[in-house]
Symmetry: C2
Subunit: 410 residues, 2 copies
C-alpha cells in the first residue's frame, strides 16, 4: 500500500524568551502531502504566537479545545486528516516545551502528576458513554502508589520491543535470510513481516523465516490495509500455519465492523490496527465492538497527550493491550514515552505489550531511542525525546536545505 514512502515531517519549533528553551514537535508523513500539513500548522500558529506558556499549561484542556473545537477549522475535520495531524504536531511541541521547561523526560512529567491533575488534561468529550471520568480516575488512583515499582522494573529491564527490519516486502531471499539470522542474534523475541501482495510469496517468505527463527520467536504479519474484508479472512487463514500472533491492518482503517468480522473469522490470530485510526471516537468503537485485540495508536495522528491518554484509559477498561505504532520519523522516540506512561500509570501490565522498533533515521535525533536485548532503554533526557539535530534540519529542511538544493539542481 505504502509503495514509495519518502519519510518526511512537518516540524515545529516553538521559540521562547528563555535562552535555548525551545519546544520541538512534528507530525510524520511519507512524502507529498507534508506541505499541506505545514500549511495547516501555519493556520494554527496564530493561536499560540505570543502566548505565555503558563497560560496554556495552567489550563491545558481549554487551550486544546480552542484548537480542536475552533468552529471554522472543525469543518475540515473534525479531528481527522490534515487538520488533526497539524494539531498533533502542535501539541507534541507544546508538551516537549513543557517537559524541557520542567527539566524532565515527558514520561516522568506525566508520571509525576497526581490523578486529579492528569484527569484535568484528558479530553473526555464523546467517550463518556464508554468510560466516565470517575472510572478513569479510579484506574489512575489504583496505580498511583505503585508507580515507582514499575519505573524500577523497566529501568532495569527496558520496555519490550519488536523489530520490523527483516520483514519488508521486496527484499531478496538472501537478504531475508541474513536479516532473520541477525534478528535472532540480536535477541529479538518478536519479528514482524509485511504480507498481502502475493500469497505464494508470503508462504515462501514465512516458511524461510520460521526455519531460521525457530518456533520460540513470535511472528507477526502486517497487510497495510490492502485487503477487502473477505479477502483478509481468506488470506490470513492461509497463513495460519505459521502461527502469527497478530495480523496488522487487514483492511480499511475506518472499518470497525469489518475488523470485527475479520477478528471473528481468523481466530486465534489476533487483529491489530491503529496507525491510521484518526481519533478517540474511532478507538472507542473498536473497543466497544470487540473488533480488535491490539491497539496500535500513533503519536503523530492523535491529538497528543490529551487524546492519547483517553485512548490508553479506554484500552485499559476494555482490556486491550496497546502496542504503539513506531518507525517513521521520530515515532520510536515519541512512543517509548507513551508506553512507559501506560505501564506505570494506566495498564500496569506488560503482558501482550510490545513496542515497535525500526532502526531507521535515529541518527538525526539529539537523544535517539536505544535498544538493548530486544527492549527499549528508558529515555532520560528532558523533553519528548524527538528533537532533531540542528545540523540535520539545516541539511534536510525543504526547500532550502543543502540536500534539496543539490537534488533540485540535478
Amino acid at each position: 500500500m505504502n509503495i514509495a514512502p519518502d519519510y518526511s515531517a512537518a516540524y515545529i519549533i516553538l521559540k521562547t524568551d528563555i535562552p535555548d528553551l525551545e519546544g520541538h514537535g512534528h507530525t510524520f508523513t511519507i512524502g507529498r502531502g507534508n506541505e499541506i500539513c505545514v500549511k495547516a500548522i501555519e493556520s494554527l500558529s496564530d493561536a499560540i504566537k505570543g502566548k505565555y506558556l503558563d497560560d496554556i499549561t495552567n489550563n491545558w484542556l481549554e487551550f486544546y479545545y480552542s484548537i480542536v473545537n475552533d468552529s471554522q477549522l472543525r469543518w475540515i475535520g473534525p479531528e481527522k486528516g490534515v487538520i488533526h495531524l497539524a494539531t498533533a504536531a502542535l501539541f507534541n511541541a507544546l508538551w516537549d516545551l513543557k517537559a524541557k521547561y520542567e527539566r524532565k523526560p515527558l514520561w516522568r512529567l506525566i508520571c509525576d502528576m497526581s490523578p486529579d491533575e492528569l484527569i484535568a488534561i484528558i479530553d473526555f468529550k464523546y467517550i463518556e458513554d464508554a468510560l466516565t471520568k470517575n472510572e478513569a480516575l479510579e484506574i489512575l488512583l489504583n496505580n498511583y502508589d505503585t508507580r515507582e515499582q514499575r519505573i524500577q522494573i523497566i529501568t532495569n529491564d527496558g520496555y519490550p520491543a519488536y523489530t520490523t527490519s527483516a520483514g519488508w516486502l521486496g527484499y531478496s531471499i538472501d537478504k531475508l535470510k541474513s536479516l532473520c539470522r541477525k534478528a535472532k542474534q540480536e535477541n529479538w523475541k518478536y519479528v514482524k513481516f509485511k504480507v498481502g501482495t502475493n500469497l505464494e510469496e508470503d508462504i515462501n517468505r514465512l516458511t524461510i523465516a520460521r526455519e531460521i527463527l525457530g518456533e520460540d520467536i513470535i511472528l507477526m504479519i502486517d497487510a497495510n490495509q490492502v485487503w477487502s474484508v473477505n479477502e483478509a479472512i481468506d488470506w490470513v487463514n492461509s497463513l495460519k500455519i505459521f502461527n502469527p500472533w497478530f495480523i496488522e491492518e487487514p483492511t480499511n482503517p475506518d472499518d470497525i465492523l469489518g475488523h470485527k468480522k475479520i477478528r471473528e473469522s481468523v481466530e486465534p490470530v489476533m487483529v491489530a490496527t491503529g496507525e491510521h485510526c484518526h481519533n478517540k471516537v474511532m478507538f472507542k468503537q473498536f473497543f466497544q465492538a470487540n473488533a480488535i485485540d491490539i491497539c496500535q495508536l500513533d503519536s503523530c495522528r492523535l491529538g497528543s497527550l490529551h487524546e492519547i491518554l483517553a485512548v490508553q484509559l479506554l484500552a485499559k477498561k476494555y482490556n486491550k493491550p496497546i502496542c504503539p505504532h513506531a518507525g517513521g520519523v521520530g515515532l520510536c522516540e515519541y512512543v517509548q514515552n507513551l508506553a512507559i506512561i501506560d505501564f506505570v500509570y494506566i495498564s500496569a501490565d506488560l503482558d501482550g505489550r510490545v513496542l515497535e522498533y525500526i532502526d531507521h533515521l535515529h541518527e538525526h535525533f539529539i537523544y535517539p531511542s536505544k535498544i538493548k536485548n530486544g527492549a527499549y532503554i528508558i529515555p532520560t533526557a528532558n523533553g519528548y525525546s524527538a528533537t532533531i539535530k540542528k545540523e540535520a534540519i539545516e541539511i534536510y529542511k525543504y526547500p532550502n536545505g543543502s540536500f534539496w538544493i543539490q537534488n533540485i539542481e540535478k
Copy 2:
C-alpha cells in the same frame, strides 16, 4: 457547534483549449481552513494539468484511483479530511467539464449511461462485503427501462424539498414567528429547526413553531453534533412531544455505534446524519449496523460521483432514504443532480426523500437552483449546476477581490 460560519469555497476552474469550455468545481468550507483545502488542491493539480479529457473520462476509475490511492498522499487521509475535500472539488470540476462538453446537465449525463457504463465509474473498494458489483448492477438494470417515466414525474412536480430558513438558533421570537408564517405561506411541507443549546429555549421555540405551522407540516430537529451519546438520548426524548420526524447529527459524526444506541433509544424519532460522514466505508457501517434512518451525504465531502453513487447504491440495498445535505455554497446546486439520479436510476422512490434547501448565496451562481411549491425545479443547464458568476469571483476571490481589498483596508 458551527457558531461563526463564514461561508467559503476552495474553487477550481479547469481550463481547456476549446474556447469557453471550462469545468468548475469546489469544496465548501465555513471560513478559516479554506486556505488549507486550496493548498491540497494545488498539490493535486499536477495530476491533471495538460491531460486530455478523453484520457480521463474513458477510464474514470483509473484516474480516480490515481488520486485517492496515491501512496504518499494517502497517508494524510486516507479518504478523509482536507485531502478528500480537495479530491471532491477536483472531481466535481471534472464532472462539470464532462457534462458541459457533452452539453447535458450532470444528472442527464449520468441517467443516459448504461448500467455497465455506470458500474465502471463506481469505486467498490472496501464495500463489497456489503454490496457486490453484481448486486449493484441488478439495481441499475431493474430501473433502466423506466427511467424516463420518473424523469417525467419530477419534471412535472419537481423534487420534494424542505427549508431550514426558519430554524436557526439566535433568532428572536418575533423573527421565528414571522419566518414560520412565511414557510407556511410558501407551501413548505417540511421545516427544520436547530436545537441543542438550551433545552428550555428549544421547547419554547418548537411550541411556537408547532402553533403556527400546525400539525400537518413535518418538523425536523438538528443538533449539529453538540451532544454526547447519553445527552442526545435524554434531550431528544424531551423533544418527542413535538413529534419530530428526525433528529439530525445528534452526536459525533464518526460514532456509528453511538448513533445506533441513540436510534434505538429515541424511537419513533428517526436518526439522520451524513454532512460530516467522510467516506463510503463509514456510510457502509452506518447502514450495516442499522445505526441511522436517513443518509445525508455531502456533495463536497465525498469523492464526487465515484463515491456518491456507491453510497446511493448501498443506501438502496439497506433501504435507507437519502436526503442530501445542502445549503452552504452551491450545495443546493450540486445535490439536486444527485437526488434526481437517485430517484431515476437507483432508489426509484420518493417516499421519505426530501432535499434540503436554504435560500442563501444563490444569486452568485449562473444557473441557481430554483424552488416552486416546496420542490426543486429540475435543472436544465449543461454541467453540474454550481458555476459561480465571473463577477462574483472577481469581487470575492481571496485575497485580491474587491470585497477583500476593501475589508483588509478597514
